[in-house]
């Protein structure tokens, strides 16, 4: 099957994944901010896949084709995922900033590696890996600490589940990338496309689906924030300029 077919499959999957947060946005106006971020993750990915399905942004680098839309998608949606995790943990504003910067750095390094045909790409790959280790530290250490010693069990459960989905699946991306034509080339282009579409689907739609299933946890979070002092908590709506940036794409 042509690659475009798989891109369209990805598009449909992402659109399906966007329905859940859109429904929740209507159902729970109190945590619209959270659902907006979730909708941004799959919605922007759907746009990116539709772009690739139309054959746009395909660039040949060396002997293989690179879809710029995919990297732009990642550049926008992965910060949204990190942002959502951070919004669950409610860390300091500083933490928001450096987590998002680390994520953008990782994807940026990935783009550089993908667009570079020579062995330099492995340098970028290594830089991205280092950035990813920093990001992992943030997700595995900093954010749980921000949740405190005795977090709300539902919030904790939701955070851990989403965090683990993210950490485990994201860790598979560089593995797949190394096996892909851009890497050692064991995976052929179509299979690489299928695997990445599947990975994208799981890491985004499954993430969004589990987040939507944990809406009651967000409810508690919003209620707790509304009742408690929110002075020390940065307003999540102030941070996600990424949502607007995504719309511009």
């Amino acid at each position: 099957m042509a690659l475009e077919t798989w891109f369209w499959v990805g598009t449909v999957g992402m659109i399906a994944g966007t329905l859940l947060p859109l429904r929740d946005m209507i159902r729970y106006p109190s945590h619209r901010r959270y659902d907006l971020v979730l909708a941004g993750i799959t919605g922007l990915a759907a746009i990116a896949y539709a772009t690739m399905g139309l054959g746009l942004t395909a660039t040949t680098v060396g002997e293989h084709t690179v879809y710029i839309a995919r990297y732009v998608d990642w550049l926008v949606t992965t910060p949204l995922i990190v942002l959502y995790l951070a919004m669950l943990a409610k860390p300091s504003r500083r933490t928001y900033v450096w987590l998002l910067l680390a994520d953008v750095f990782v994807i940026g390094a990935g783009i550089a590696a993908a667009l570079n045909p020579g062995s330099q790409r492995w340098l970028f790959f290594a830089a991205g890996a280092v950035g990813y280790v920093v990001l992992l530290y943030g997700l595995l250490r900093t954010l749980p600490r921000a949740l405190g010693d005795d977090p709300d069990p539902r919030v904790w459960s939701l955070f851990v589940t989403l965090r683990n989905i993210t950490v485990v699946l994201w860790t598979l991306y560089p593995v797949v990338w190394m096996l892909a034509p851009a890497g050692v080339g064991i995976l052929q282009t179509e299979m690489y496309t299928i695997v990445v579409v599947y990975l994208d689907f799981i890491s985004k739609v499954a993430f969004v689906a589990f987040a939507a299933l944990g809406a009651d946890a967000v409810d508690r979070l919003v209620t707790a924030t509304a009742t408690g002092s929110s002075a020390s908590m940065p307003d999540p709506m102030e941070t996600p300029a990424a949502t607007d940036a995504g719309d511009d794409d």
Binding site: T161, L187, I194, V195
Partner: protein, 763 residues
């Protein structure tokens, strides 16, 4: 380190799950690798077989073609027309040969070649006619092969000539019967390999000659160029079927028997093994999708399970620490939700039990507090009881002391000490009143008894000393005694009544419930006392009457005593006379005895008489002295008796007044009894007040009762003492009788003498 890791794995469900998933993934990768290896092995075998088969087939094909072209050439070269040397005939023969259907593939022209001049004299293709191959560089011309005979055929190496725009191969055979003439089949080499099918996708077949040049090549431009393979490989492939992979290529080679050639089938490794790569890619993709899926399942199941378990575990810990307000909610409806529900139920049950226990504890606390309060109240009650008991003891002691005091006083009174009084200054009002009443009564009794006693003494003494006329006095004394007995009886009865009162008081102390009855009884007793007092009063009246008689008798006795005295003086004078006579008789007897001594023997009888007379005189004198003495005594006594009788008379008058006073006192007693009655009412009131405490002071009250009983007993003793006193009073009577007896004795004694007027005076 290793054991620590093992412990960590054993202690974490998430790690175990992750480990299990990693094992599954590793297994998938391993199976994938195995499948890949087997597939590539199989694929390599297939590729090798395909390529080798293809090379062999082509070598055989080339061999067959060579045999065919050799045979055809040899056959054609033996045609007579060619040997005729006639140009037209040769040309016609050549054209016929070239146009023949049986002409081997690739033969494009047939030449009639003259060896010595190295010129193609005639050709089926006019372009070649007249061409000098040696000049063109054709090998058959520049380096002519040698032939064994006319039947021999030579195949040249491929070559290019300017006249042909394709690589050429010549098959040369000498024309039989024409020396120096050769038939040459000119073959377009390209057509030799044009029909080589691609045995393997992307494969190419080449034919290499032993000098290392390509005989055939898909890229026709490369024909006759230098083979770019290794020399050794070429040599090997010229002699046998060869298969090798080299420099990204796979190659199978097979030697051609009919020529020093080898057919090589080359294929790009990537293309030859494209299927293997695809299989590897697919397997890897499958593994990756499996990993992704397993990761998702593992992460979600593991994370939710671990967080749920951690939550439940933490809540269980909190519950174990006593925090039952913990929120147990996994938000799940599966077994974890059920487990959480069970936890909630357990917590609620625990909470209920705990609250029940707390309630019970609070109740117990309250009960304990109440018990404590009750204990304090009991303590207080005990203290008040104690106090009441102390008070009761105090009261009892007071009562006891009072009773003892009363007892002592009454005992003393019973013993005769009528001066004794009880101490009526008591805190206990009733007892004080009783004491005062007793004292009052004792005063009266003392007065009465003292008067009566004195009176009786006087009567008794008078009776003893009065001879004859003392009988009346003795009778009177007896009457007095009787009266005194009656008084004594009255007093005894009084004492009994007092004892009863004491008993009532005792009862009063002992039982508050019986107070009313006891008080009523006390009232009755008081009435009885009043009656007794009345009796006493009557007795007193009798005593008064008797006393009047006694006074009269005493006066008469006194007068008699005076007469007796004067008579006694007369007796004295008589006795003096007797004494003088006795003296004179004695003197006479002395003189008689002196005379008798002078006379001697004759006077002995006389002397004896004189001695007897002397003895008689002395006895008479002694008797007279004795009588005088006794008379003197008697006279004194009678005088005293007379005095005393007068005194007695006065005393009786006094006694009468006193008895009158006693009667009045008895009236007072009646009043006191009435007072006692009202006092008993007050006692009852007091006892009523005491009753509240008295219920717990039963023992003390019993003790008081005991003491009261003792008091009663002692009161009985007092009564007995009173009886004894009464007896003592009767003894006084006896003494009076004794006195009368002694008076009678005196009377008798006096009767020995001739008392004057004694009979009528002494009675």
């Amino acid at each position: 380190m290793g054991s620590g890791l093992l412990t960590r794995v054993r202690g974490s469900y998430g790690t175990k799950l992750a480990l299990a998933l990693v094992v599954v993934v590793a297994l998938s990768v391993g199976v994938g690798a195995l499948v890949y290896q087997q597939t590539t092995d199989q694929l390599e075998g297939d590729v090798r077989a395909d390529l080798t088969g293809s090379a062999d087939a082509r070598a055989d094909h080339l061999d067959a073609w060579l045999s065919n072209v050799r045979g055809q050439t040899m056959l054609a070269s033996s045609q007579p027309a060619l040997a005729s040397g006639d140009e037209a005939e040769v040309e016609a023969s050549l054209d016929r040969l070239a146009g023949s259907d049986e002409l081997p593939d690739g033969v494009v022209a047939a030449h009639y070649y003259d060896g010595p001049s190295t010129t193609i004299e005639i050709s089926s293709n006019d372009d070649f006619a007249g061409v000098n191959p040696a000049e063109q560089g054709a090998p058959f011309a520049t380096d002519p092969p040698t032939f064994d005979g006319a039947d021999d055929v030579a195949v040249t190496k491929p070559f290019t000539v300017p006249v042909a725009d394709f690589p050429v191969l010549s098959v040369v055979s000498p024309i039989e019967g024409a020396e120096g003439k050769f038939l040459i089949y000119m073959v377009n080499v390209n057509e030799l390999t044009a029909d080589f099918d691609q045995a393997v996708d992307g494969s190419s077949t080449v034919v290499v000659a032993e000098d290392g040049t390509y005989v055939a090549h898909p890229d026709q431009s490369r024909v006759l160029t230098e083979h770019d393979g290794a020399e050794g490989m070429l040599e090997q492939s010229l002699s046998e079927s060869t298969f090798m992979q080299h420099d990204g290529m796979v190659m199978a080679a097979s030697p051609v028997d009919g020529a020093p050639w080898t057919v090589m089938v080359h294929a790009q490794q990537s293309e030859a093994f494209a299927l293997g790569d695809f299989v590897a890619s697919s397997l890897m993709g499958l593994v990756l999708i499996t990993v992704v899926s397993l990761s998702l399942v593992g992460v979600t199941v593991g994370s939710t399970t671990v967080t749920s378990l951690q939550h439940l575990s933490r809540r269980a810990d909190e519950m174990a620490e006593g925090n039952l307000d913990a929120d147990i909610d996994t938000g799940r409806s599966d077994e974890f939700g059920t487990l959480a529900g069970s936890f909630r139920e357990m917590r609620d049950s625990l909470s209920t039990s705990l609250s029940e226990a707390e309630t019970a504890e609070a109740e117990a606390q309250q009960a304990r507090a109440e018990a404590e309060q009750q204990r304090q109240e009991a303590e207080q009650a005990r203290e008040s009881a104690e106090e009441a008991r102390r008070e009761a003891q105090e009261t009892a002691r007071e009562l006891e002391a009072a009773a003892t005091d009363y007892e002592d006083a009454l005992t003393a009174v019973a013993d005769g000490d009528l001066t004794r009084r009880v101490d009526a200054d008591r805190d206990h009002d009733a007892m004080a009143r009783v004491g005062r009443a007793v004292n009052q009564m004792l005063d009266d009794i003392e007065t009465s008894v003292a008067a009566a006693s004195a009176f009786a003494d006087h009567v008794s003494d008078a009776a003893v000393r009065v001879e004859g006329g003392a009988t009346d006095a003795m009778d009177a004394g007896s009457d007095v005694s009787t009266a005194v007995d009656e008084i004594s009886d009255g007093a005894t009865e009084q004492t009994d009544r007092l004892h009863e009162v004491a008993g009532e008081v005792d009862d009063l102390s002992a039982s508050a419930e019986e107070v009313a009855k006891t008080v009523a009884s006390l009232a009755d007793t008081a009435g009885q006392a009043a009656d007794a007092v009345e009796d006493g009063r009557e007795a007193t009246d009798e005593a008064v009457a008797t006393m009047d008689d006694v006074a009269d008798d005493a006066e008469a006795a006194a007068d008699a005593m005076d007469a007796l005295d004067s008579e006694m003086e007369d007796i004295g004078e008589i006795v003096d006379v007797i004494a003088d006579i006795a003296e004179q008789t004695n003197m006479l007897a002395l003189n008689a005895s002196i005379e008798a001594a002078r006379t001697g023997a004759d006077g002995d009888g006389f002397a004896v008489v004189a001695d007897e007379v002397k003895g008689l005189a002395e006895e008479s004198r002694d008797a007279a002295e004795d009588i005088e003495e006794r008379l003197l005594d008697l006279q004194g006594q009678v005088s005293d008796v007379a005095d005393e009788m007068r005194d007695t008379s006065e005393n009786v008058a006094d006694g009468r007044t006193t008895v009158g006073d006693a009667a009045t006192a008895l009236d007072d007693v009646v009043e006191f009894v009435a007072e006692t009655d009202s006092a008993a009412g007050e006692i009852r009131d007091a006892t009523d007040r005491q009753a509240e405490a008295a219920s717990r002071v039963a023992g003390a009250v019993d003790e008081v009762a005991g003491i009261s009983e003792e008091t009663a007993a002692q009161a009985t003793d007092v009564a007995e003492s009173a009886d004894e006193q009464t007896e003592t009073l009767s003894t006084v009577g006896d003494a009076a009788a004794d006195l009368a007896e002694r008076a009678a004795t005196l009377d008798d004694l006096l009767a020995d003498f001739d008392a004057r007027g004694g009979d009528e005076e002494v009675n």
